[in-house]
């Protein structure tokens, strides 16, 4: 399995479910309009919690064509991944000829958290029993225990028999799962990868654990404007949910069948800060290194980057950290490059967001439009780059850098480029 690095990997199909819009078209319309999809958390009574804002997707699995048994079997995150996979397949026009050459790579940070918590409440009788009662559990509980079931569902929905995996590196999962898929195509283990990520974490235990470290916003009286990356008044991220899945193909494979090509995945790298499970070094050193290595992988100079799709979570620490990383890796070019965070509109869906941001990056290349950072009225003085406030910008966009940063210290960078 020697690295055949002359194999190039392109995106030929996209499927997205995000807050504020189901499907790639609605997603892109929301982003380019600069509308926000954050709102008061409605999935459960959040009264006891510090943060009561969420970015919820109006996703109904039955309406999206899943059968009653599929709905019962799958956690919401798996449901969204399967529906996105169908959209991506239809979008690409790809049909499986040799299943052994098609693989699957699904990112998720917290797996089947919603279903697990629902089941826990029943088998523990509302937290009363430490010795949980297995007789009350759903037969699908094991699928929720092991999130590898997400990759299985996607593989079954496609009929893939190549390498299949779940990649779970916290909030960089959605970049890393696509990076992993790219690697498998490049080394020749597959010609096509169904790759992306999904998370549906809006559940009491998730809200509680982010409350405990004050990572999420407390702007409960103004939920529509609660996600404020790079703004001086930002106070944490808005918990979101969603999924994006792609059909990734080896370039010649795509060309032979005359497929549309959104963009090529030209470079990828991940690094770790080895510093703190939730904290970031202020100098952005490791993210800068990931960007530098991704550029080298792409054989591109930093000056080639036309747009940076930022992690931009809206925590005090993150936005300064990555601003420093962009300057460290790109030098003066960082000041000339538009940077925006779509989390300002659709919140932070943990492991899913990296793939959703890759979708936004590919669409920016296709449409020549850079999505804005909503809710950015007064820049943090320490965040002094061009964050494309409020309004989308038409701009020829050939190379996009998308970055992510996550608990565990993980820093990832993906480079996408227009295919001439």
């Amino acid at each position: 399995m020697t690295s055949t690095s002359d194999r190039r990997v392109v995106i030929t199909g996209i499927g997205v479910i995000a807050p504020g819009g189901l499907g790639t078209k609605a997603f892109w319309e929301l982003l380019t309009a600069g509308r926000t999809a954050t709102r008061t958390l409605s999935f459960f009574d959040a009264t006891p919690f510090r943060s009561r804002v969420a970015a919820e997707a109006d996703f109904d699995p039955a309406a999206e064509g899943l059968s009653p048994q599929e709905v019962r079997r799958m956690d919401r995150a798996a449901q969204m991944a399967v529906v996105c996979t169908r959209e991506a397949l239809a979008d690409s026009g790809f049909e499986v000829a040799d299943p052994t050459r098609v693989g699957v790579s699904v990112g998720t940070a917290v797996g089947a958290t919603m279903s697990l918590e629902e089941e826990y409440v029943v088998v523990s009788d509302g937290g009363r029993k430490w010795l949980t009662d297995h007789r009350y559990a759903t037969p699908h509980l094991y699928d929720y225990l092991v999130p590898s079931s997400f990759a299985r569902e996607v593989a079954w929905s496609v009929g893939a028999e190549g390498p299949a995996t779940v990649v779970s590196t916290g909030c960089t999962s959605g970049l890393d799962s696509v990076g992993h898929a790219r690697e498998l195509i490049r080394e020749g283990s597959a010609d096509v990868m169904i790759a992306g990520a999904t998370d549906a974490p809006i559940s009491p235990i998730t809200v509680a654990c982010f409350d405990a470290i004050k990572a999420t916003t407390a702007r409960n009286d103004d939920p529509w404007h609660a996600s404020r990356p790079f703004d001086n008044s930002r106070d944490g991220f808005v918990l979101g949910e969603g999924s994006a899945m792609f059909v990734l193909e080896e370039l010649e494979h795509a060309r032979r069948r005359g497929a549309q090509i959104y963009a090529e995945l030209v470079g990828f790298a991940s690094r770790s800060n080895a510093f703190h499970m939730t904290g970031l070094r202020p100098d952005g050193r490791e993210m800068a290194e990931a960007i530098r290595v991704a550029l080298a992988d792409a054989r591109l100079p930093g000056e080639a980057v036309d747009y940076i799709n930022a992690h931009g979570s809206g925590t005090k620490q993150n936005d300064r950290h990555e601003t420093a990383a962009f300057k460290r890796s790109l030098g003066d070019h960082a000041y000339r490059t538009p940077v925006s965070s779509i989390k300002s509109m659709i919140g932070h869906s943990l492991g899913a967001i990296g793939s959703i941001e890759i979708a936004a990056s590919a669409l920016a290349i296709k449409h020549g439009v850079v999505p804005p950072t909503a809710n950015l009225h007064e820049r943090d003085p320490e965040c002094d780059l061009d964050y494309v406030p409020l309004t989308a910008r038409e701009q020829q966009t050939d190379v996009v850098l998308s970055v992510g940063s996550g608990f565990g210290g993980f820093q990832s960078a993906m480079l996408l480029a227009r295919v001439a």
């Binding site: 010795l131 037969p139 916290g170 510093f275 993980f410």
Partner: protein, 406 residues
Amino acid sequence: MSTVVTGVGVAAPNGLGRDAFWAATVAGVGGIGRISRFDPSGYPAQLAGEVPGYEAAEHIPSRLMAQTDHMTRLALTAAQWALADASVDPAALPEFGMGVVTASASGGFEFGHRELEKLWSKGSEHVSAYQSFAWFYAVNTGQLSIRHGMRGPTGVLVTEQAGGLDAVAQARRQVRKGVQLVMTGGVDASLCPWGWTAQLANGLLSTGRDPTTAFLPFDANASGYVPGEGGAILVLEDEQAAARRGAAVYGVIAGYGATFDPRPGSGRPPGLRRAAEMAISDAGLTPADIDVVFADGAGVAQLDRDEAEAITAVFGPRGVPVTAPKTMTGRLYSGGAALDLVSALLSIRHGVIPPTTNIRRPAEGLHLDLVRDVARETPVRAALVLARGYGGFNAAMVVTDERNGR
């Protein structure tokens, strides 16, 4: 350019530490017993492989105790041993020259159970600040990288019991791309009532009460598997870099293949055979070069038969010694295949194939040369490790001694 293993660390139900584990494994001493970590009497399955004699406070700094699940403590301990075994000083390596790739199956489930209980019985303000990461699947990779200052590429793969091999294969990719050292493997544990409840839901757990008959892969009385906790951490390096620093080498990660089973009802064959053939071919070997197969050993009749058919399809009837020492540990989820990989490397080093214990009546028609009851002394130059993850994940890896697999 070969990728070699220069260090291993083990936390297994039949031995804490490499030497204790290997002595027990060669001698056929098992570590399966009645669950002690909680009262299992209300559950249909009551046996598990628990890591014996592990006092976390002896191994883990006190500041890490509050923020770690049991499985992360075991992983941190195994990792420290693996680095010491490799005689490597992390501080002497380049800033971004070390990476970490681990497998996980279900995260720090016991930690999660305690926090769920606090949330639902006492209220959200009682949930630990550490819950945001202590239970999630990436926790071991994160904690290992922080503990040892490893700032290179990181990764976490989740393919249930196949994960141990998939993680090592990903670590090999990083070494091939120029990372000097990658720590990898898998350690898992979800032996808490909530984790047990969830495991019971797959319908594959053995309800046997006798540790010597509850988990019988390839036996006519196979009736499910016994879960366990633990696993192994390995240190991978580029062969030339290892040679330059005079490191002792266990063996070469020579070949790998991964496939996924067809969806049910497709009528197409399962993918394990293909994974095995890919791994052997990737190693530049033929089936005749393989001296032993470490089987997945599901302990479920149909799955055992599927595996036996894959093995005989590649090697012929009784064509290669086959063993499943996990009869002594139970199935360790992401830790299982990582531990089998260590066993395969130790087989190469010591020229002995550990036994599959407790098999009294091999299932008919499997045509396997199963190494039963007592270890078999024989030179081992190349071993094939097989692993399957629930739902259809197949992985196969070939390890060789240094003279092979170039």
